[in-house]
C-alpha cells in the first residue's frame, strides 16, 4: 500500500496547525515563500520509484516512519551537543555546532570572522542583510519533479548563513557540525544559504552526525552562490546511524571564472541521498563533484548529480566511487547537460563500484545530454570486484590476502579522497575511511550508540 498519502496528510496538518509558530519563529523571507512552496509540494508529493531520479531509491523507510516531532520551533538542549567530540575536530577550523537544524546562539548568532566573513543563523542574517538574502534565497533551487525541495521551503525555519563579501577570504575552513540528538524521533529540515561574492574564497566542512539512537530524518536544502572569480569548496562527511535518513539538496550556482568543488564522503547512514546540482552560469568556470560511499547492513546510499553547462568554455568533473557490502545498496544518477550555448565544454563523469557480497546491489545511470558540438564529454561506469592482478602483486610481496584486499579498497577510495582540498582533512578522512573499511568504525568514536 502507498504510505505517502498518510504522510502528506500528517505534514499538511502540521503545516496548517503550526502556521502561526512557523511565521513567528522564522525570517520573514522564509514565510513569504511558504505558501507557494507548500502548494508545489502538494502537487508533486513525495517521489516514488516511478520518478526517474528516484528509480533506485525507495524513501519509504525514512519517510514512512512515524516521527514524533516534525517541527520543533524551540532549540533543543545544547548541553549534550557541546560535549560531542567530532573525529575531525582537531583540525584548525572555525567550528560551529547545529543541533537538529537549529543554532545554539539564536538570533545573536551572526559573527564576523577575521577576513570579513560572516557566519551565523539565517534568522539573524535576514535581519542584518535583508537585501542580500532577498537576492539569493530560493533562487537556485531546482527539482526532478519531486516535492522535497518545496517541502523544505514550506516548513524550514532556520539554517546556516555564510557570507563572503567581495574580495574576502578566510584562511581556515569553516566547520559545521550537524548533530541530531533527541529523546524523540525527529524529522528536521534546515535551510542554508552560502553567498561567495566576486573574488572571494570560502571553504566549508559539514559533518553530519546522529548521536542518540532515535529515528531521524533530515531534508536539507543548501543554496550556494559563487560569484565571479571566486572559489568555493564544500566537504560533507556523513556519519549517521542506521536509523537515520539523510536527504540533502545542494545547489551550486557559479558565475564566470569561478571555481567550486563538492565532496560527499558517506561513511555511514541508514538511508542517504545527496543531490548535488552544479549550474555553470558564467564562462570559464570550473566545477567538480566528488563522492565516496561505503555501505553495509541494510544501508542505502544514493548520489544524484547534475552538472549544467549553461555557459561556454567550462570544465567539469564527476567522480563517484562506492564499496558495498552485506545487504547494502547504492545508486548513482549523474547527468551532464551541455546547453546549446556551451561551446568549448569539457566534461567528465565516472562512477566505479565494488560489490563485496552476494546481497549487495548497485544501480548506476551515468547520463549525457548534449546540445553543443564543440565539446569533449566522456563518461564511464563500472561495477565489479577488486582487480585480481593487483591482488596477486600485493601478495607476491608478502602482504596477506585480507590486508591486500583492504589496501586495494583503500586505494580505490583514495582516488576520491585525494581531491579533498584541505590537506589535514584529507589525512583525517583517509584515516576514517581506513577504519571504516576495517570495520573498526561503525560510528564516530564518541558516539554513544551501537549501530548493529
Amino acid at each position: 500500500m502507498d504510505y505517502r498519502p498518510e504522510v502528506i496528510n500528517k505534514l499538511s496538518e502540521i503545516y496548517s496547525g503550526s502556521h502561526g509558530t512557523f511565521l513567528k519563529n522564522s525570517p520573514e523571507i522564509f514565510n513569504r515563500h511558504r505558501e507557494t512552496a507548500y502548494k508545489e509540494f502538494l502537487r508533486l508529493g513525495i517521489p516514488d520509484r516511478k520518478n526517474e531520479a528516484y528509480k533506485y531509491t525507495n524513501l519509504e523507510k525514512s519517510f514512512g516512519y512515524p516521527y514524533q516531532v516534525y517541527y520543533s520551533p524551540v532549540p533543543q538542549d545544547f548541553r549534550e551537543a557541546e560535549k560531542f567530540h567530532c573525529e575531525v575536530e582537531d583540525l584548525d577550523v572555525w567550528n560551529m555546532v547545529l543541533l537538529n537544524g537549529f543554532f545554539p546562539r539564536g538570533e545573536e548568532g551572526l559573527v564576523m570572522l577575521p577576513g570579513g566573513i560572516w557566519v551565523g543563523s539565517m534568522k539573524a542574517a535576514a535581519k542584518q542583510f535583508p537585501g542580500l538574502v532577498e537576492k539569493h534565497y530560493n533562487k537556485y533551487v531546482q527539482g526532478e519533479n519531486d516535492g522535497l525541495v518545496p517541502l523544505n521551503t514550506a516548513m524550514a525555519s532556520d539554517g546556516l548563513f555564510l557570507y563572503a563579501p567581495k574580495n574576502t577570504a578566510y584562511t581556515k575552513p569553516i566547520q559545521i557540525v550537524n548533530l541530531l540528538h533527541s529523546d524523540q524521533d525527529i524529522f528536521a529540515q534546515d535551510r542554508n544559504l552560502v553567498v561567495v561574492e566576486d573574488r572571494a574564497q570560502l571553504s566549508l566542512l559539514v559533518c553530519d552526525h546522529a548521536i542518540s539512537p532515535q529515528h531521524f530524518l533530515t531534508n536539507t536544502v543548501t543554496e550556494v552562490y559563487v560569484g565571479q572569480n571566486s572559489r568555493f569548496e564544500i566537504i560533507r562527511v556523513q556519519n549517521q546511524h542506521n536509523n537515520s535518513g539523510k536527504i540533502t539538496h545542494t545547489f551550486i550556482h557559479q558565475e564566470r571564472d569561478s571555481y567550486a568543488s563538492s565532496n560527499n564522503i558517506t561513511l555511514h547512514g541508514g538511508l542517504v541521498r545527496n543531490a548535488t546540482w552544479h549550474m555553470l552560469n558564467g564562462e570559464n568556470s570550473e566545477t567538480h563533484s566528488y563522492g565516496l560511499y561505503l555501505a553495509d547492513k541494510q544501508q542505502h546510499i544514493a548520489n544524484f548529480v547534475k552538472v549544467d553547462h549553461a555557459a561556454p568554455n567550462c570544465n567539469s568533473t564527476q567522480l563517484f566511487k562506492g564499496v558495498l557490502d552485506e545487504n547494502s545498496s547504492g545508486a548513482f544518477n549523474g547527468r551532464i547537460m551541455v546547453h546549446k550555448i556551451a561551446q568549448g565544454t569539457n566534461a567528465y563523469q565516472s562512477n566505479n563500484n565494488i560489490l563485496l557480497s552476494d546481497a549487495a546491489r548497485m544501480d548506476t545511470k551515468p547520463q549525457l545530454e548534449i546540445y553543443a558540438d564543440d565539446v569533449k564529454c566522456s563518461h564511464g561506469a563500472t561495477v565489479g570486484q577488486l582487480d585480481n592482478n593487483a591482488l596477486f602483486y600485493l601478495r607476491s610481496r608478502g602482504i596477506d590476502a585480507r590486508e591486500a584486499k583492504l589496501m586495494l579498497m583503500f586505494g580505490f577510495a583514495h582516488d576520491v579522497i585525494k581531491n579533498i582540498p584541505i590537506e589535514a582533512l584529507r589525512e583525517r578522512i583517509d584515516n576514517l575511511v581506513q577504519k571504516r573499511l576495517r570495520g573498526e568504525l561503525s560510528r564516530c568514536a564518541s558516539c554513544a550508540i551501537q549501530c548493529n
Binding site: 582487480d387 592482478n389 593487483a390 596477486f392 602483486y393 600485493l394 601478495r395 607476491s396 610481496r397 608478502g398 602482504i399 596477506d400 590476502a401 590486508e403 591486500a404 589496501m407 586495494l408 583503500f410 586505494g411 580505490f412 577510495a413 583514495h414 582516488d415 585525494k418
Partner: protein, 265 residues
C-alpha cells in the same frame, strides 16, 4: 635435515586451461647461484615464474617444488614471499590510490612479523627507503606516487628492483626484466641487482636475450623448450644462443622427442 639446495624442482608439470605447459621440469638452485633460463616464446618460462610464486593461472598436476626443504606448492603467494621469494614482474601492475610508501611498509613489516621481528620504526623505514632508492637510482618523485601508476616501462622495472632491494629476498626471479629497457636503464637495473645481492642470494634470470647476462653473469644457463629444460651449460651457452638463435635447439629437441616417442612404440 636442511637441504643443500635453496630451490629444488622435480618433474614439474603444470597446465593452463587444461593445456600442459610445463612438461616435467627439473631445476636445482644452491644458495648464491645465478641461473639464467632462456628459450623461445611460449616455451613456458613465465609459467614457471607463475608456478613458483603461486599465481593461480597455472595448475600443478605433477612433481614437487621445495624451497629450503619446505614444500613450496602448499604455500600461499604471500607465504612464499615471506619465505624470501621475490618476483620481478614482466608487467608490473598499476595500483591506483595505494601509495608506494604504504605498500612497501606493509610488505616489509609483514615479512618481519613472519621472522618474529618488530615492525620497523618510521624513521628506520624511511632511512632504508632513501638508501635503496639511491642504490637503484630511482627518482624520489616516483616513490611518492601510487604503485606503478603512470610509470614508464623503464620506471616500472626500476621500481621492481627497488622493491627487491627493500625486501632482500633469498631467491629473486627476474622475469624478462630487461624487456622494454634501453641500454642505460638496463645497466642501472642490472647493476642494482648486483649491488643488492648478498653472497647467499640466488637469482633466476628469465630472459630472451643474452644482453642482461653481460651484467648479471650466470653460473648456469638453461634452455627451456616446450615445457622442459632441454640443455644446461655455462655462460657460453647464452652467447651461442645469441649467435645461432633458438632454431637449432628446437630441432635438436624435436629430434629427441621423436626418438623417444618411437622408442615407446
Amino acid at each position: 635435515m636442511k637441504s643443500e639446495f635453496l630451490l629444488q624442482i622435480k618433474e614439474l608439470k603444470a597446465t593452463i586451461d587444461n593445456k600442459e605447459i610445463l612438461k616435467g621440469l627439473n631445476l636445482e638452485v644452491k644458495p648464491g647461484e645465478i641461473h639464467a633460463i632462456m628459450g623461445p616464446n611460449g616455451s613456458g618460462k613465465s609459467t614457471l615464474a607463475n608456478v613458483l610464486t603461486g599465481r593461480d593461472i597455472a595448475t600443478v598436476t605433477h612433481g614437487s617444488v621445495t624451497f629450503e626443504g619446505k614444500d613450496l606448492l602448499v604455500m600461499s603467494p604471500e607465504e612464499r614471499a615471506r619465505e624470501g621469494i621475490f618476483l620481478s614482474f614482466q608487467y608490473p601492475i598499476e595500483i591506483p590510490g595505494v601509495s608506494m610508501v604504504n605498500f612497501m611498509k606493509t610488505a616489509i613489516n609483514e615479512q618481519r612479523k613472519h621472522r618474529g621481528l618488530e615492525p620497523l620504526s618510521a624513521s628506520e623505514f624511511l632511512r632504508q627507503m632513501r638508501e635503496k632508492k639511491e642504490l637503484v637510482e630511482i627518482d624520489s618523485a616516483l616513490t611518492n606516487r601510487s604503485v606503478n601508476e603512470g610509470f614508464s616501462g623503464g620506471e616500472k622495472k626500476k621500481n621492481e628492483i627497488f622493491q627487491m632491494a627493500m625486501l632482500e629476498p633469498r631467491l629473486a626471479l627476474l622475469d624478462e626484466t630487461d624487456s622494454g629497457l634501453d641500454i642505460d636503464a638496463l645497466r642501472i637495473v642490472a647493476n642494482g641487482v648486483n649491488k643488492i645481492r648478498r653472497t647467499d642470494t640466488s637469482v633466476i634470470v628469465i630472459t630472451h636475450y643474452q644482453r642482461l647476462l653481460d651484467y648479471i653473469v650466470p653460473d648456469y644457463v638453461h634452455v627451456m623448450y616446450d615445457g622442459r629444460i632441454v640443455r644446461t651449460a655455462g655462460p657460453e651457452l647464452a652467447l651461442e644462443l645469441e649467435e645461432r638463435g633458438y632454431d637449432w635447439i628446437r630441432k635438436e629437441a624435436d629430434v629427441n622427442e621423436e626418438t623417444w616417442t618411437t622408442d615407446r612404440k
